[in-house]
């Protein structure tokens, strides 16, 4: 069952037709998924302090109801670690169309995957999983299964990817934690079953997987037109 907070997020996003990233992440967090540490602010000082407290570089993103696809608007800046850089980029992001807030979060390093869902006309909720990132549509190295998933569905999805070797660790690089990934995909598919009345499609792209955990680094929820 969907938590009350999650239900409210969906309800409040209906007029926009999609769920803003901070809300989508809050929804995922309320359902027990891992998201990177973050702060939502328009204050440079607050963002700067968050960056200084972080033991890793941070990412800054514009939160705007007018920007569904952030890459095209250069609304995401990665690898920020100096105050000067952060100030400059925050000022630029704040000028983007409709920018309400800046989402600053820890930059997790790992393998970029896509976990998505679509409410298919013929088959209902289906899950898409594969190699993620901004070039996902060019490579289209993904597998599709009908939700809900069970463990062996996840294994067969991983096996069917051309880049499956990357997931098990390639040329000395660590692979992904298959157990964490399986949990993520199975739980995600159950969440999608709960959301099917309202959901058109959902992208978790990228999901960044390390040898320990899987973090949802970006989330986009498109709602059904009412």
């Amino acid at each position: 069952m969907l938590e009350k907070d999650a239900q409210n997020i969906i309800k409040n996003s209906k007029s926009l037709g999609w769920v803003l990233e901070p809300d989508a992440k809050a929804l995922m967090k309320s359902q027990g998924f891992d998201i990177p540490y973050n702060v939502l602010t328009n204050s440079f000082d607050k963002a700067d302090q968050f960056m200084k407290d972080a033991s890793c570089p941070v990412v800054a993103k514009a939160v705007s109801k007018k920007i569904l696809h952030k890459t095209e608007y250069r609304a995401v800046v990665t690898g920020l670690s100096s105050s000067h850089q952060l100030k400059k980029e925050m000022a630029r992001l704040q000028k983007l169309d409709g920018c309400e807030n800046i989402l600053v979060e820890h930059m997790v390093q790992g393998i970029e995957l896509i976990v998505g869902a679509k409410n298919d006309f013929q088959f209902g909720p289906v899950i898409v999983f594969g190699i993620g990132g901004t070039s996902v549509e060019i490579y289209n190295d993904t597998a599709i299964r009908m939700a809900p998933l069970v463990e062996h569905d996840v294994l067969s999805m991983v096996q069917s990817l051309k880049a499956k070797a990357i997931l098990s660790g390639y040329r000395g690089k660590p692979g992904v934690n298959l157990k964490a990934l399986t949990h993520l995909l199975v739980d995600f598919s159950l969440l999608i079953m709960d959301l099917q009345e309202d959901l058109a499609s959902m992208d978790l792209n990228p999901v960044i997987c390390t040898k320990d955990k899987c973090f949802i680094a970006d989330a986009r929820i498109i709602l059904k037109r009412s």
């Binding site: 679509k118 298919d120 013929q122 549509e137 599709i144």
Partner: protein, 455 residues
């Protein structure tokens, strides 16, 4: 709903038989069933009269005996009235041949008929369809008997959204010696749909594999189909038409863009162990193979040929279709070598693909198949039997079938489809061993068995 009246009728009324137009669909259907099938057939036309010295009844209600099946071939606007009379008489079900419903934009008329039938638990096929071909029992196709090629009675159940594709597939089945238990063109599928047919075939003892030609499902219907098909105890084969990128454009998320309609369809079929054929040729091969072997396998193929060239061609085909050609265990090769005729012992190749050479005799082939079937690396054997070799007898089909049945591992043969090799081919087919008429066909038969195996 009980579909027995539809698919195993003893009596049938054909509504719409014309007194003036011999080629009217109803006349063709009436004549062929009346003259050539065991189903007792009655002709109906509101005008009444006599047709071919038999009574032309004014209404189904006027027929004295009970009617199992009504074939309705009247203009669309008259269909509701005829269905109403059928329900009143207690007819078991109908095939509505008539067009002019949803396919012509007249969805409300179709819905009206569907609602009436649903309320009365009256099953019907169509509208806008050819209906039923049950070999040796009934044939509601409005195509003159002399124009169509009919496969013999067999164990494939075939359901098609397109009547034309069904008729054409019947030609292909007949050419390959594949028999049908029942062929149904479901047309607009206003009542009987793919899921109903799955239920029927699941319980039909005469059906061993179920094939579908699918253009598309209604909202949520794909999920219902897949759940039934996934649980079905018999192999399900699907040929999908309409694989274009429709539905992908203007997607607002990556996922929607990556998961176009056909990719979703195809991958879900795979998830639930349904064999998806890429084209009609594959469909034919899949049907033959899956009617013999219902279990899924990983796809490790052992190839035996009497000519190196055929072995290499088969390897190429296997690789193209995602099948593996694993190494053969040393102990398998040793035991085969020991038992081969001394004349070929030193000239054969016992690596995969195995080449027993043109000098091999029946006993060499039998020995090789027996021991290759026991090799744990191999899931399925392809035997490319070139009957031109002098040492191969006409009994090789029957003899090899016995070995294959004893060993219990899927075995597929290639024998050229020529009259002079019929005895070899029948030696296999009558023992339920699939035979392909080309190397490629044999590879496709093996491909059919490689399906996802849920735990």
């Amino acid at each position: 709903m009980d579909l027995k009246s539809l698919f195993k009728p003893s009596t049938m009324a054909v509504v719409g038989v014309s007194t003036s137009q011999d080629t009217h669909p109803a006349n063709v259907i009436y004549n062929k069933n009346h003259l050539r099938y065991p189903v007792k057939t009655f002709a109906v036309n509101p005008k009444g009269g006599i047709i071919n010295r038999e009574i032309l009844y004014k209404s189904v209600e006027d027929i004295e005996s009970d009617i199992d099946l009504a074939v309705i071939a009247v203009r669309a606007q008259f269909v509701p009235g005829v269905v109403e009379l059928c329900i009143k008489k207690g007819v078991g079900g109908a095939v509505i041949i008539s067009g002019g419903f949803a396919e012509a934009g007249n969805s409300s008329l179709q819905q009206y008929v569907a609602d009436m039938a649903k309320e009365a638990a009256f099953p019907f096929i169509g509208p806008n369809c050819l209906g039923i071909y049950a070999p040796d029992l009934v044939d509601t196709f409005f195509l003159p008997g002399e124009r169509i090629i009919r496969p013999d009675k067999g164990n494939i159940g075939f359901v098609s959204q397109s009547g034309g594709v069904l008729v054409d597939q019947m030609v292909k089945f007949a050419g390959q010696g594949i028999g049908l238990s029942l062929g149904v063109s479901i047309g607009n599928k206003a009542c009987i749909r793919e899921t109903d047919m799955l239920d029927w075939f699941e319980h039909d003892p005469g059906t061993r594999a179920i094939a579908f030609y699918i253009e598309g499902f209604n909202e949520g219907e794909g999920r219902e189909f897949i759940k039934k098909a996934g649980r079905c105890s018999k192999p399900v084969i699907v040929l999908k038409a309409g694989k274009s990128k429709k539905g992908i454009e203007a997607a607002s998320s990556h996922t929607a863009s990556l998961a176009g309609d056909y990719r979703v369809f195809s991958q879900i079929m795979n998830q639930y162990s349904i064999a998806e054929a890429d084209n009609e040729f594959e469909l034919t091969s899949f049907c033959e193979s899956l009617s013999c072997y219902s279990k899924a396998m990983d796809g490790n193929i052992g190839i035996i040929s009497l000519s190196g060239g055929h072995g290499v061609l088969a390897v190429d085909g296997c690789e193209q279709h995602g099948l593996s050609i694993p190494g053969i265990e040393q102990k398998t090769m040793d035991i085969i070598k020991e038992k081969l005729s001394p004349e070929i012992q030193n000239i054969v190749c016992l690596e995969n693909p195995m080449d027993l050479t043109g000098s091999a005799e029946d006993s060499d082939i039998l020995t090789t198949v027996r021991h290759l079937a026991r090799d744990k690396n191999i899931d399925c054997i392809l035997a490319l039997l070139i009957p031109y070799s002098p040492g191969v007898s006409a009994d090789i089909g029957a003899k090899l079938s016995q070995v294959a049945m004893n060993e219990g591992k899927p075995f597929i043969a290639y024998v050229p489809n020529e009259d002079k090799y019929k005895m070899i081919i029948e030696g296999f087919e009558l023992n339920n061993i699939p035979v392909a008429s080309s190397v490629e066909g044999a590879v496709l038969m093996a491909k059919a068995l490689k399906r996802y195996m849920p735990c």
